[in-house]
């Protein structure tokens, strides 16, 4: 009995310790964002500020054109979601449900490109986009979505492989065209997986730093990641404002995570099918 109890207490103790380690940086982020400069440079530091300086948030939002950066970012996110939702399921459908010669090759290449480092294509892509006059526009950061990201195609294909084909077979016998089957049957079946695609597509565009760094030179077009980095360069030592800005930037991700947790986890289990 005692041994059994000990057996269950130990994992809990370690898990609680780990939870504390994982959560403490968040607490520190938020508490720093609510301190006065004096409290920030106080040694030893206190965890809690004397009074919560909510004005740091207003100050942070005034120091940089936060609303503009956020708008720019959300536009890029939205276009990417539309693009991925258009292209990825089409391709996934083709390589999982249409028995055509060549789908095996396409699938192998899709998987291979998942591990191809983006840097290899980076420079010629930049040269192409420069020649097209697309530098300083959102085009280089969104056009790729309309061709379907390999990871999403893979995810949707795995999902479709696990779904029985009876429904679409029956529709085919009834003489429904492939397009009709795709829109009426496949897309509704794919819905939960499409939510995952939209979610990850949003997250990737939202957190992207290198893409905007390369393509958006004009600070009026900056995204939130570039804006935050610019903030660091210009006001590096104002930690309370910098942490306030970081908190605001992180908030949408946390909200998304709490509402869409099962979709975040889904991608993990999809990857375990990837042997």
């Amino acid at each position: 009995m005692a041994a059994k109890l000990r057996k269950s207490i130990l994992p809990h103790a370690v898990l609680i310790l780990f939870s504390f380690l994982f959560l403490f940086p968040f607490l520190w982020l938020v508490m720093t964002s609510l301190k006065t400069p004096d409290e920030i440079f106080q040694l030893p530091p206190n965890l809690l500020p004397d009074t919560f300086q909510w004005s740091n948030y207003a100050a942070a939002l005034e120091t940089i054109p936060f609303a503009r950066y956020m708008t720019n970012t959300l536009i890029i996110c939205a276009v990417n979601i539309v693009g991925q939702l258009f292209a990825a399921p089409l391709v996934a459908y083709s390589i999982s449900r249409i028995p055509w010669k060549g789908r095996g090759i396409i699938f192998s290449i899709v998987v291979a490109t998942m591990i191809l480092p983006a840097q290899v294509q980076l420079i010629p892509q930049y040269i192409i986009f420069t020649k097209l006059g697309w530098v300083n526009t959102i085009m280089p950061l969104t056009i790729g979505a309309f061709f379907g990201a390999p990871f999403f195609i893979f995810l949707l294909r795995q999902f479709l492989m696990g779904v029985p084909t009876e429904l679409s077979e029956a529709a085919k016998i009834d003489g429904a065209s492939e397009i009709r089957i795709y829109i009426r049957i496949i897309l509704p079946i794919l819905k939960p997986a499409l939510v995952t695609v939209a979610l990850f597509s949003f997250v990737w565009s939202y957190v992207d730093f290198m893409g905007p760094l390369i393509y958006l030179n004009d600070s009026a077009k900056w995204t939130i990641t570039l804006g935050l980095q610019g903030f660091q360069q210009d006001h590096g030592a104002q930690w309370e404002k910098l942490m306030a800005a970081s908190t605001i930037m992180t908030l949408p991700m946390i909200v998304l995570y709490f509402f869409g947790q099962k979709y975040f986890m889904q991608s993990g289990s999809a990857l375990t099918g990837f042997k």
Partner: protein, 317 residues
């Protein structure tokens, strides 16, 4: 006579029925977005970067053919070797460390404790923080004078390194930050752990195998495909480290100073490539770097896959 008949026969075999052709076209049409994108944004750039790697090109004047000169220069360039050393440090030290820690967390989470869903939520949480924000937070926590980490170390009477200001400690700083994000990897391991057949453990228990034997002979082989997968992803990831380095090093490119932090200790492969291409506008030189990157990643992946036959166990599903 005989020959021609066999040819016509095989031709007949090869020529498609109307239905087959229809299916082929249909498949092609549905896959068209990806195929077009693949040709335009992967295949074409892939080969044109090979061409650019043999030229000198600054975007403003047309590319000038220089043969293998860029490659020759790269192998004499101190920054290249430094970036490669820094990157390989991450590949062979940071990747295994994060892998082991995430496996340990997964094992902990797999111990059928109550409230596992809360723990899972907490452990995954840091992984959803944008890298720019978490790098800024860690820059603050690792501040040598006022940061949380050094305050703790000092109160315990331990040495307090200058972390991001000391070239010896910049990469450990980066590892510390990446350990914060191990929850995502842990959940992938957890999903795989739950897929290891229970009968194996029961049989081993009957045979009186101890914890270590069960771990080493059942858990590790059962997880080996995922370990290989995470190793390959980690390897490729280490060659793509960019944002963390850029922010932790302060992201300044001023007065001829280069990216990569103190003593270029955070100058990783992708950072060096970015710098050559977009700071110095040496597009030809950077294309050569990209090709070397491609060959390196291909080579290491190949070696991993080859040796994996010896330790990766693909059980039947």
């Amino acid at each position: 006579m005989k020959v021609s008949s066999s040819i016509s026969q095989s031709k007949q075999k090869r020529s498609w029925s109307k239905k087959e052709r229809h299916t082929f076209l249909l498949g092609l049409v549905f896959a068209a977005p990806w195929i077009i994108g693949f040709l335009a944004f992967t295949v074409y750039p892939f080969f044109s970067s090979l061409y650019f790697s043999l030229t000198e090109y600054d975007l403003f004047s047309s590319p000038k053919w220089v043969g293998l000169n860029n490659y020759k220069q790269i192998f004499e360039d101190e920054s290249f070797y430094r970036s490669l050393r820094n990157t390989l440090f991450m590949t062979f030290i940071a990747v295994p460390i994060t892998l082991i820690v995430s496996l340990l967390i997964a094992l902990l989470l797999n111990t059928k404790v109550k409230g596992i869903n809360y723990y899972r939520t907490i452990f995954y949480l840091p992984s959803v923080i944008p890298i720019v924000a978490s790098a800024l937070l860690w820059t603050w926590m690792l501040n040598p004078d006022f940061g949380l980490i050094n305050t703790l170390l000092r109160s315990l009477g331990l040495p307090d390194p200058a972390w991001l200001l000391d070239p010896q400690y910049t990469k450990p700083s980066l590892i510390l930050m990446s350990l914060w994000g191990t929850g995502a990897g842990a959940l992938i391991f957890l999903a795989a752990l739950q897929g290891v057949p229970k009968q194996y453990y029961e049989a081993a228990q009957v045979d009186g195998a101890n914890w270590w034997h069960r771990f080493w002979n059942i858990t590790i082989p059962g997880l080996s495909p995922i370990i290989l997968f995470q190793l390959i992803m980690g390897l490729i990831g280490s060659f793509q480290i960019f944002t963390e380095s850029y922010i932790l090093a302060g992201g300044k490119v001023d007065g001829g100073k280069s990216l990569g932090g103190p003593d270029q200790s955070l100058l990783f492969y992708a950072v060096n490539l970015y710098q050559e291409a977009f700071v110095y506008l040496k597009m030809g030189y950077a294309s050569a770097l990209a090709w070397i990157l491609f060959i390196l990643v291909l080579f290491i992946t190949f070696v991993l896959m080859k040796t994996s036959a010896r330790w990766v166990y693909y059980g039947g599903d």
